[in-house]
């Protein structure tokens, strides 16, 4: 297989407590970011509609028009669907732009689908998440059709890491 996010830093933020491996029969929902078409054109069009000197300034697209621009190719959709169905995954939904797929499957299936992944449960207060403790890969036939698989590696940010407001007087500039 091929690793789609080999440069994603793997770490468990300090406020998450490891609770052990997830049972193979539990369900996970993964987000597949399908390769889009016409991304170069998308960028050029964005420049045109955003540049006040362009005659296209302000001529925005509807979501449906954006969808027809970036919608994944039939080849991409077929390759990804074939790959998913080959693992018995049918419970999927898409979005209007068809460039994301959300699929539900058991942990056992997810770990077979994404070789290298190993799902664990982590807890922070009342919140629990499942994440892989190691890098995932995908079959080489679909690697060129996917940007990444969401819900495997990145933890939700905590209050400390998130850009957030805080109460109380600030420390001096040079503490």
């Amino acid at each position: 297989g091929e690793q789609l996010e080999r440069d994603q830093v793997l770490f468990v933020p300090e406020d998450w407590v490891h609770e052990g491996r997830v049972s193979p029969h539990e369900e996970v929902q993964l987000t597949f970011a399908l390769m889009q078409q016409n991304v170069d054109r998308l960028e050029k069009l964005l420049q045109l509609v955003s540049d006040p000197d362009s005659r296209h300034y302000g001529k925005f697209f509807s979501l449906e028009e954006v969808a027809s621009l970036v919608r994944p190719s039939q080849l991409t959709e077929k390759a990804v669907w074939t790959w998913l169905q080959g693992h018995g995954i049918e419970n999927c939904s898409s979005v209007i732009t068809r460039d994301f797929l959300l699929c539900t499957m058991s942990v056992q299936v997810a770990e077979r689908l994404l070789p290298g992944s190993q799902f664990h449960r982590y807890r922070r207060g009342d919140q629990t998440v499942m994440r892989s403790s190691s890098q995932y890969s995908v079959h080489k036939d679909v690697a060129e059709h996917l940007h990444f698989v969401g819900g495997v590696l990145r933890f939700p940010l905590s209050g400390k890491e998130n850009i957030k407001a805080w109460a109380g007087p600030k420390r001096p500039t040079k503490a």
Partner: protein
Amino acid sequence: FHLGVTPATLRTRYNLTAADIGSAANNSQAVAQFLEQYYHPADLAEFMSLFARGFKHLTEVERVVGKQGGGKAGLEASLDVEYIMSTGANIPTWVFTNPGRHETQEPFLQWMLLLSNMSAVPWVHTISYGDDEDSLSAAYMNRINNEFMKAGLRGITLLFASGDSGAGCRHLTKENVFRPSFPASSPYVTTVGGTSFKNPFKVTYEVTDYISGGGFSNVFTMPDYQVSAVSAFLKGAQPLPPESYFNRTGRAYPDMAALSDNYWVVTNLVPIPWVSGTSASTPVVGGILSLINDQRFLKGLPALGFLNPRLYKLKGAGLFDVTEGCHLGCLDEKVEGNGFCAASSWDPVTGWGTPNYPVLLDAFMD
């Protein structure tokens, strides 16, 4: 004289009169939350009754997308809602709440999916969220950029807080480097930094808030729209940090700024002072841009959409230039805690500066 930033303080400083409120039929604005944070309608009502007497405003959120949990209100959520509805007064406001209910969801990614799946969404979105660029995969960031482009092509304005760690610092084995934050460093969003009043108890001119996030991306190259402005800064007279600390050819941020210090927020029915951060400045700018959208809609003009190409062409017109102060950087011998410093015109602490509403409105109305 004042005892902290309230809607009245902001509206005075940014020259918003009581008549500067929304009235267009198809206008709307939104804030998005990704933590387990909720706003309470009662807090918003109390905030408005305490602090928003001098202008017409709404006291209820129009729509909540996602499920608000129970329990205590979050300071962040209260802040965002209360201040976008204070500058963007009388404009219908949505709250996107994405706490990540499924155990394998990425809340920020879920919000992006929602945008890709809703035909009608507000014109202006403010988001206080960011992660270290160096912790994220290039594949992920590039794809999120595509999503930002999709939103921009639809005329949606995305505003991100620039962060509260100044230039940031990444401690490497040999020497330190600054640490940019994503999505603040995306070339396809408008990033908002922070300022303080020169005299914290008076409506004076503004200086940098030392926490204001800013710098240069190590991943994304500098977009054309900002080359001239950033080159002028780099060639300017002020001393720069050593070149090894930042990538002078990367996307530079923030793009603009607003006050980010000493806010009053009502949360769980208690007024809280001293709330600070670019989480505060971002909804303030969001509300002001929504007011400009409102005036544009009334004249039959389209929304502002992705702002930066037009913002940089203004060359600072309609913005109060912030020229005093520096932000945080690495606490080491070479930079001694400093990142970049403000300068005339654009700088990587406060961008082009803070909004002077009537002039900015004029500039954006042709």
